[in-house]
Subunit: 109 residues, 2 copies
Amino acid sequence: MNIEEKLICEAKVKVLKALAHPTRLWIAEQLADGERCVCEFVDAVGVDFSTVSKHLSVLKEAGIVEDEKRGKQVYYRLKVPCVLKFMHCVEAVIEDQIKDRARLKEHLF
Amino acid sequence: MNIEEKLICEAKVKVLKALAHPTRLWIAEQLADGERCVCEFVDAVGVDFSTVSKHLSVLKEAGIVEDEKRGKQVYYRLKVPCVLKFMHCVEAVIEDQIKDRARLKEHLF
DNA sequence: TTCATATTTGGCAATATAGCCAAATATTAT
DNA sequence: ATAATATTTGGCTATATTGCCAAATATGAA
């Protein structure tokens, strides 16, 4: 792994890390249906307003969402919708695991 | 976000977290070219043997790779190759950011 | 059996992340 | 101007992650 490869990996990792949190992933998935303001997530997620705000800024820093202030509210929307299409593969990994576990169960019992 | 949604998000997050580390991502990408044993990564990555082993076990726990012991060596291979195909989207996010930065630069100078 | 090699595991210190509270900021309504 | 609402920021503690070292385990070689 040379320096250039390392830098590229770190850039990709920033995006992956941003999505690698249950609340942030859920927020990103909700945004697939259209933009939402911060307060809408506060009620839905059940954590502090400041926590939601910070989660959104992580997604923004990673380039996954963009924000727009309109009046008192700040609206967030997906900037790169493919981030959710690519989740299909993550789901495939999970389904694979479920199958493996089922196979193991059959072998044991 | 109800309990079921939360559980599903946590399962997906496990996969994302496993890839969200420069060394682990690089390892996963190398495995696209075929299986490798642990020691091959130790030399290439330049961290402790035990560290590489732990990284590989994180990838294994997440269901991304599988291992097979042959002789003294343990060989790892990609179990779900799409995890790398889905990285194309992550790359798209990064390219988007680069374009944004270029645009900003043009506006300022 | 004894030795060398390949790998995993346990434990520890350093660092990063999450989430709460309080304070700062911005915008609209009164 | 004052108040109320929406959001961000700073600071703090709790928890999680990383990576090293040393020890344990497994396998093939001598």
